[in-house]
């Protein structure tokens, strides 16, 4: 994908954009050979969306989340989900303070800027939905009191698709809360060789300094919202969405919320590429990450999965001239 800016237009060479490029470069030194996934992660963050990483253990999911938090200068927490995890373990709990003779709310790990929810499909549906509610509302309510979550607030959840015993698959309505789902996959041979040679990548992080902070992330999120979305582009997005509906081989088409998410993600992608307007290519770049987990084939046993459906969608819908 070309990162060329539109000529004849001043490039956003302000400090945050430069820092963002540096963050991309730094992430690429930590997670080797996955530039697309790194950009998708950043785009998801800039689009104020939550991220679901689905992959087998040991391909760097946690490292990615850790590096993201560290380089962007965000505070982060990690929760390992298990079947006996309770909502209070995430949200927090009111405890009685003997000194003041009052109940005091003790924040749970969710009160952070980046929450890594590891193996989210191991928790019970009740705990899952507590987290997902917080994700949607960006606030938690305990004992009639509402506590706002920090801003920015970003959840990176991971799940292992191959484990089935003792897991609770996320239902469609909750999958929909995640703006993107990505998979990392095994590294290419030459990157794997480098990984094997150099050992633990997370150690690199301690030597790196954060390139951004929470305030600049918020400003970047503002800038992403300002990326121009033209009518012809909306035509294209609508054509894509339309193509997923009323199909015999799909259980569900893309919802309007998915459409909004697609546009936000494309805006973020365009911003990462230094553009001031969204091009069809930006939509194409983020489509499979945004749409694949929302498209469910009617016969899951078939070879067609969401990724292939999304690729097929791109092949079938022409870009309007």
């Amino acid at each position: 994908m070309s990162a060329d800016p539109i000529p004849g237009r001043p490039q956003p060479r302000d400090a945050e954009a430069v820092a963002l490029q540096r963050a991309v470069a730094a992430l690429e030194t930590v997670i080797l050979g996955k530039p697309r996934q790194i950009r998708l992660c950043l785009a998801c963050l800039l689009a104020r969306g939550h991220l679901l990483i689905e992959d087998v253990p040991g391909v760097g999911k946690t490292t990615l989340a850790h590096a993201l938090a560290h380089l962007l200068g965000l505070g982060w927490q990690r929760v390992q989900f298990t079947s006996d995890l309770l909502p209070a373990d995430i949200v927090g709990v009111s405890v009685f303070d003997r000194a003041t003779q009052q109940f005091r709310f003790r924040n749970g790990p969710i009160f952070t800027q980046l929450l890594l929810a590891d193996e989210i499909n191991r928790a019970s549906p009740r705990t899952q939905s507590a987290l997902l509610e917080a994700m949607e509302e960006r606030q938690v309510s305990v004992d009639l009191t509402t506590y706002r979550l920090p801003d920015p607030f970003f959840v990176v959840a991971t799940e292992n698709p191959h484990e089935e015993l003792g897991t609770f698959a996320l239902p469609e309505s909750q999958l929909d809360r995640f703006l993107m789902r990505i998979t990392l996959g095994y590294p290419e041979a030459r990157f794997e060789r480098e990984l094997l040679r150099k050992g633990e990548r997370r150690d690199l992080l301690s030597e790196m300094t954060p390139v951004l902070d929470a305030a600049s992330v918020l400003r970047l999120q503002q800038a992403v919202r300002a990326v121009h979305v033209s009518d012809p582009l909306l035509d294209y997005v609508q054509a894509l969405i339309e193509r997923t509906r009323g199909r015999a081989d799909l259980k569900l088409g893309l919802s309007p919320r998915a459409g909004q998410g697609l546009i936000r993600a494309a805006q973020a992608w365009a911003h990462l590429a230094g553009r001031q307007a969204v091009l069809p290519e930006d939509v194409q770049a983020v489509l499979s990450a945004v749409a694949a987990h929302r498209l469910e084939p009617r016969e899951p046993a078939g070879a067609v999965d969401g990724e292939r459906l999304a690729a097929d969608l791109l092949e079938r819908v022409p870009v309007p001239i």
Binding site: A277, E281, E315
Partner: protein, 686 residues
């Protein structure tokens, strides 16, 4: 690499197809062609079919990169070889079979170079011509669905070939084709009903289809039993009023006068004199017959027909309808018959002579028997009675599988085997009559018929073939005597299949006996009869009848033409109105037109835009394929991107248009690229 270059240059103005789409379009085209060839498979020589299959396999293998397509010289040689083969086989390139063969062969060779859309259209067009040829050569009902399927297949293939990048799915293409055919159907019906039918044979091709079974003009022991194995329909008869009772369903075919001791035959046509009208007596039947093709000239009619029906047919003095030409296609005629009428006039001297003649040195015992019986009887009528008595009491048995007879067939039969079917009995009876001095002749034809309650007609099959005798009796005229009826009286009232259980195999018995199978069989036969009569047989006369019913009494071709034109315009208006209601894509604006011009220029330079490519991705593609154009192309494409997708002031549109119009892709780079392309081809060959 060299391949891609060729494909791109061959279809510069078409968007490049992905290889899967290429294969799909090829498969559809090949299927359409093979369908056309298979419809003709028994009409064209085997090598043409094999060639078609080989060419299809070759082009598919080439599409899968498993083989290399032949070069121009090989294709040329192939085409010349095909023409030579057709010429060697048919001595002409004209005519239905030679033309079909040539068409199939050429279409197959064309498939080998079908890379662009236009080539595929040509191959599909060839398949449609093959379909047309098939329609000309065979028109029976079972083929109609096959023809419709092939038309559908061809149209679907065309839809797939026509659609850019083959974005039309298989089902969608089939649906589109079906809808288009349905839209065209009213037009086809109108043209069928009202297109002026010229009574000449402008498009009647020489008909090569010939029937295999039917009555011949000779009768030898065994000829009828051959016929009785065939359940093909001989003809169907619709009656005004009730049909005659089974015992009167004698359908008269050729009458045989000459006997050589073994075979009965018919004198040449010029021997017969003029015909006198028969006097109608009591039982008149009016009916219409649709005669199936048969090798003979005979127009079958219920015995005795009163006059010749309209058409190229003559009624001979022995009451046989002889057509001017062999019955090569189904014909329909109306006739009036009287089942009780007799020919009262005494035979002329030469007819009498002919109907008394016997070969003197053959069948001596029968000759003697006949003379003795006549002497003992006293009168002709008593002679007939005593001869029939001989058949009744002489231990004769009716069978379809009699032992073979020698040269003196009647002697062998009467004094030896005593087993036979209608032909044997009629032959022996007439021989005895002639020996006793009574003029007699053998009549062949059909007896009986199956009543079809669905279509309301009598179906007479080849297996109903029969032979009987006629003798001249003073005062009574020519009298029908059926010796078979004496030996086996049930043969008159029941079909031969029912009557002789051994004559049909067990599965056939099942078909004949089970009630619902009988119903299905009759329904199918009624549908066939309708098809033959109303669709295939729709001629000028039927058209005039239809028009008269619509109130046009004496139409001239010009009037018909005008009516047809009016219908066509009406159809166009209705379809056009329907199409106008479809949502129409918006007219491209100035920017889109300028962008298309830009894309066209780049496509001519060898980089076609894929439908799903946005401007930035297209710029990358140009940079990869034509680095020399990359810089300018990127500037132009990105200014399009900004004009289209950016928050841009509209005044820069004119700049963009000018820049696109001014940009010339220099010939130097193009020629340089050409030589590079050639070099890469050469290196690939090495």
């Amino acid at each position: 690499m060299s391949r891609d270059h060729r494909v791109a240059s061959a279809s510069a103005h078409e968007p490049a197809r992905p290889p899967g789409a290429e294969l799909r379009a090829l498969l559809w085209t090949a299927a359409a062609l093979l369908g056309g060839v298979l419809l003709q498979v028994d009409r064209i020589p085997l090598w043409a079919t094999v060639t078609a299959c080989l060419c299809v396999a070759w082009s598919i293998a080439a599409c899968l990169r498993r083989a290399r397509l032949p070069g121009r010289s090989i294709k040329g040689a192939l085409a010349l070889a095909m023409i030579a083969a057709v010429l060697a086989m048919f001595r002409t390139l004209n005519g239905l079979e030679a033309g079909s063969t040539l068409l199939a062969a050429m279409g197959s060779v064309k498939l080998l170079e079908a890379r662009t859309r236009r080539d595929r259209y040509i191959v599909i067009g060839t398949a449609l011509f093959l379909l047309l040829a098939a329609c000309l050569s065979r028109q029976s009902l079972p083929y109609a669905p096959l023809y419709a399927a092939e038309a559908w297949l061809c149209c679907s293939a065309m839809a797939v070939a026509a659609h850019p990048e083959s974005s039309l799915g298989n089902r969608a293409a089939a649906r589109l084709a079906a809808r288009s055919l349905l839209i065209a159907l009213p037009l086809a019906v109108l043209a069928f009903l009202f297109f002026p039918r010229l009574s000449g044979s402008l498009w009647a091709l020489p008909n090569t289809g010939s029937a295999v079974t039917g009555l011949g003009d000779t009768l030898a022991p065994g000829s009828i039993s051959d016929l009785s194995e065939s359940s093909d329909p001989a003809f169907r008869a619709w009656f005004d009023g009730p049909p005659p009772p089974p015992a009167e369903r004698y359908w008269r075919g050729p009458v045989l006068h000459d006997f050589d001791g073994y075979t009965w035959s018919r004198p040449p046509p010029w021997w017969f004199g003029t015909t006198t009208a028969a006097a109608p007596a009591s039982r008149l039947y009016r009916y219409r017959i649709t005669l199936e093709p048969s090798p003979g000239h005979w127009w079958l009619a219920l015995d005795t027909v009163l006059g010749p029906p309209a058409g190229l047919v003559r009624l001979t003095p022995d009451r046989v309808l002889v057509g001017a030409q062999p019955v090569t296609k189904p014909i329909t005629y109306s006739a009036v018959s009287d089942t009780r009428a007799r020919d009262p006039d005494p035979p002329t001297a030469r007819v009498r002579l002919r109907d008394l003649r016997l070969p003197p040195d053959r069948n001596p015992r029968s000759l003697a028997l006949g003379q003795r019986l006549r002497r003992e009887a006293g009168t002709d009528a008593a002679f007939v009675r005593s001869t029939l008595e001989l058949f009744r009491t002489g231990g004769f048995r009716y069978t379809l599988t009699p032992p073979p007879l020698g040269a003196d067939s009647v002697d062998d039969f009467l004094f030896g085997t005593r087993q036979g079917f209608c032909g044997h009995f009629a032959s022996a009876f007439v021989m005895l009559m002639r020996a006793g001095g009574v003029p007699a002749r053998v009549v062949t034809g059909y007896l009986g018929g199956e009543w079809n309650p669905i279509g309301g007609y009598l179906l007479v099959r080849q297996s109903d073939a029969h032979a009987w005798a006629e003798v001249w009796l003073q005062g009574r005229g020519w009298t029908r005597i059926d010796p078979t009826a004496i030996v086996a009286p049930e043969r008159l009232t029941r079909g031969i299949d029912e009557f002789l259980p051994d004559a049909v195999s067990a599965p056939e018995r099942l078909i004949l006996d089970v009630r619902w199978i009988v119903a299905v069989r009759q329904a199918w036969d009624a549908a066939n009869a309708w098809w033959t009569n109303e669709v295939i047989g729709f001629d000028l006369r039927s058209q005039l009848t239809l028009l008269r019913r619509l109130g046009i009494a004496a139409p001239r071709p010009a009037q018909l033409g005008w009516a047809l034109a009016a219908c066509l315009i009406g159809w166009l208006a209705v379809t056009g109105w329907q199409f106008s209601r479809l949502p129409r894509p918006p007219r491209p604006d100035r920017l889109a037109r300028a962008y298309r011009r830009l894309c066209l220029k780049l496509a001519r330079a060898g980089v076609a835009r894929r439908r799903t490519q946005g401007p930035a991705a297209y710029a990358d593609a140009v940079a990869a394929r034509r680095p020399d154009l990359a810089a300018t192309a990127r500037v132009l494409l990105m200014s399009y991107a900004e004009l289209r997708y950016g928050p841009s002031p509209p005044d820069r549109l004119a700049d963009f248009e000018r820049a696109v119009a001014r940009w010339r892709i220099s010939p130097r780079t193009r020629s340089a690229r050409g030589s590079r392309g050639k070099r890469s081809v050469a290196s690939a060959r090495r």
